[in-house]
């Protein structure tokens, strides 16, 4: 898709060329017409002068030459010519004619008539007319001038006009480009602020934009806010659903325990209830992942979220003999939903605690615009061929270790909603599993 700027520039160039061509050709035609009329008027004046001189010369060529006052006729290369002839064969002409004779028609031409022909190696334009003098003699009078100078001057003028039009066209295109750049500035600012908003989680300020763009900005704010509300609503519904399903499940489970104490075989019912609980957990986890806050994008502290998780996990008696360390010292702000980040780190850390021998470490390394978060343990690790399997919901490598098998798959799904991925590998530091992912740093 062509950008608006490219369209404006291309349109300006095409329009400038069209206007230039139309203008040039129109002006050329106008100028040619004007110049030719001026040339012809000059010819007519010369013709009139010649006729007048002829009338006063009484047929004497010397007298005629004296009476024709324009000295140009006397110069051989003056390019202005005259010729007068009569039926008796008298042919008079200017010195500039040399031995060239203009053709004389057989019939008289009593109206002035212009003609163009090639003489003297170039185009010549003239006017001729048959006149009858006072003494009743009939003469055919012609005056002509070379068109070489006319055409040379016309060429120079056209060249100058083309150059002038080209400069005007170029300035016009420049002007259009500059005007486009100024007009496009609010859109460029909008693009930059949307990108910045993604990093800093702030609303766009509508009153900083011109009225053509302001409604779009207001709609964008509303859209982003609405999306956030939808996500929150989805999460609240998931929480309500969890409450509605899990409480009756608890009641059924506790009644089953009483039946079991009374000697009733509840194994089948217990299994069925276990499958129901598992499906509820899986579905609720899916709802939570589908309602990730990927568009909320308020920057949050990575260190504080990790500290919260560590503080919680260290209170759980099952892990009191294991060591959990956060190696995060600098306060990096990341662009991710707070609940989602705690879900990701919590799942990975608890998974590490379940499988480790004694030690789990959480670290973060900044690299350009992102931060690489690593959770690693000193447990047995996972075989490379099982990496994909453990990221599938419900898949568990060891049924003896308690758990739903959802933690890693939920983590992977949540990261994907932020266009990131969960990478599994062997930890070279601790020997166990190394789970890592990157997040964008706020403000970069």
């Amino acid at each position: 898709m062509w950008s608006l700027r490219s369209r404006v520039i291309l349109g300006s160039v095409i329009w400038a060329v069209v206007i230039m061509l139309v203008g040039i050709f129109a002006l050329f035609a106008l100028m040619d017409n004007f110049a030719l009329k001026h040339f012809d008027r000059t010819l007519m004046n010369r013709h009139l002068q010649l006729v007048s001189a002829l009338g006063n010369s009484n047929g004497s060529s010397d007298q005629l030459i004296r009476l024709i006052s324009d000295p140009a006729y006397r110069h051989p290369n003056s390019r202005v010519y005259w010729q007068a002839s009569n039926a008796k064969g008298v042919l008079l002409g200017s010195a500039s004619m040399f031995d060239v004779k203009f053709p004389v028609p057989d019939d008289a031409v009593f109206e002035p008539e212009f003609w163009t022909a090639t003489h003297f190696g170039g185009p010549v334009r003239g006017i001729h007319q048959s006149i009858i003098l006072k003494d009743k003699s009939e003469w055919f009078v012609q005056v002509a001038e070379s068109l070489n100078t006319f055409e040379t001057d016309r060429f120079q003028l056209r060249k100058s006009m083309v150059a002038a039009f080209a400069v005007m066209g170029f300035l016009g295109v420049i002007g259009a480009v500059l005007q486009t750049s100024v007009s496009m500035r609010p859109i460029a600012r909008l693009t930059a602020e949307i990108s910045q908003r993604k990093k800093e989680g702030q609303r766009l300020e509508v009153n900083r934009y011109p009225q053509e763009v302001a409604p779009l900005v207001a709609d964008l704010n509303e859209l982003l806010e609405r999306n956030h509300q939808i996500v929150e609503m989805g999460r609240r519904k998931a929480a309500d659903l969890a409450h509605a399903l899990k409480t009756p499940s608890s009641i059924i489970r506790n009644d089953l325990i009483e039946f079991e104490k009374a000697g009733v075989d509840i194994s089948g019912t217990k299994d069925a209830l276990g499958r129901i609980d598992e499906q509820i957990n899986r579905s609720l986890a899916r709802i939570r992942a589908d309602n990730s806050d990927a568009l909320s994008l308020e920057p949050i502290s990575l260190g504080k979220s990790v500290d919260r998780i560590v503080r919680y996990l260290t209170t759980i008696p099952d892990y009191e003999h294991k060591q959990l360390f956060s190696m995060i010292t600098s306060d990096v702000q990341v662009v991710v939903g707070k609940q989602d980040l705690e879900e990701i780190i919590g799942n990975l850390t608890e998974n590490a605690l379940k499988w480790c021998n004694s030690r789990v470490e959480i670290s973060a390394t900044q690299s350009g615009k992102n931060v690489l978060v690593i959770v690693q343990d000193d447990g047995p690790g996972i075989p490379k061929e099982d990496y994909e399997r453990v990221l599938t919901a419900g898949e568990r490598l060891d049924m003896a270790v308690p758990g739903s098998g959802l933690g890693l798959s939920i983590t992977s799904d949540l990261l994907q909603s932020y266009a990131q991925s969960l990478e599994l590998s062997r930890s070279s530091d601790l020997g166990g599993l190394k789970a890592s992912f990157t997040l964008p740093i706020a403000g970069r």
């Binding site: 409450h243 899990k246 009756p248 608890s250 009641i251 506790n254 919680y312 705690e342 879900e343 919590g346």
Partner: protein, 219 residues
């Protein structure tokens, strides 16, 4: 010990109450948030089981209100909300433990016992003094390793004294912690229970502080 169960589902609340009573505890039930706040501020509970999704006022805000009022009752949050943020927010609000539904009743009662021991500073679930021993997990008492049969009220009185070692407990306080809200409380019966305990377990176990109350000395 006296326990408050704050749970809006009355069937589940009754199940929990029955399980705790079978362990010798006195149990009060509350089904909505504002009532829970009032009970926590006015009654001397030893532990509270608190649901988050209570009507009128949610469990987290109830807990925060208690803590602001310096009510230090141990609280176990029992809820369907199992996200990490919910668990951490619950602990940050002042909860001492967090369990998610669905749950196993034996696990719930075990964690309640752990909370009670932690509150009392008892690191060992088995209390031993001389020839006397009392298992706080089962309520079983032994003298010279011979089991001694105790009634539910006797266990309740003995358990409260053991969970508050070295402190003089008045009759009034004892009656507040072994009877539920709706029970008829008669502090005179406390003297009867003490006398029976001395007869079964030995006169030296429980010391009387005249005019003040009773005490089991710290081991």
């Amino acid at each position: 010990m006296r326990i408050l169960v704050a749970e809006d589902d009355q069937v589940l609340a009754s199940q929990i109450k029955a399980a705790l009573i079978s362990e010798g505890h006195a149990v009060d039930l509350a089904h909505e948030g504002e009532g829970v706040v009032f009970l926590g501020l006015t009654e001397p509970y030893d532990v509270v089981i608190l649901d988050v999704g209570l009507p009128r006022q949610d469990g987290i805000s109830v807990l925060k209100e208690w803590r602001r009022a310096s009510v230090e009752i141990p609280v176990l949050i029992l809820t369907a909300r199992d996200s990490w943020s919910d668990k951490i927010d619950g602990l940050d609000a002042g909860a001492d433990d967090y369990m998610t539904k669905p749950f196993h009743m034996p696990e719930l009662t075990a964690r309640i016992r752990a909370l009670l021991r932690r509150k009392s500073g008892l690191s060992n679930p088995l209390f031993v003094k001389g020839e006397f021993s009392f298992d706080t997990r089962t309520g079983n008492a032994r003298v010279d390793d011979i089991p001694v049969e105790l009634t539910a009220q006797e266990i309740a009185v003995l358990s409260y004294l053991i969970h508050n070692p070295g402190r003089v407990i008045s009759r009034t306080e004892l009656s507040e912690h072994i009877y539920s809200y709706d029970d008829d409380r008669d502090s005179n019966t406390i003297a009867v229970f003490i006398a029976r305990l001395r007869k079964k377990l030995g006169a030296e176990l429980i010391r009387t502080e005249r005019g003040r109350g009773y005490m089991i000395e710290v081991v």
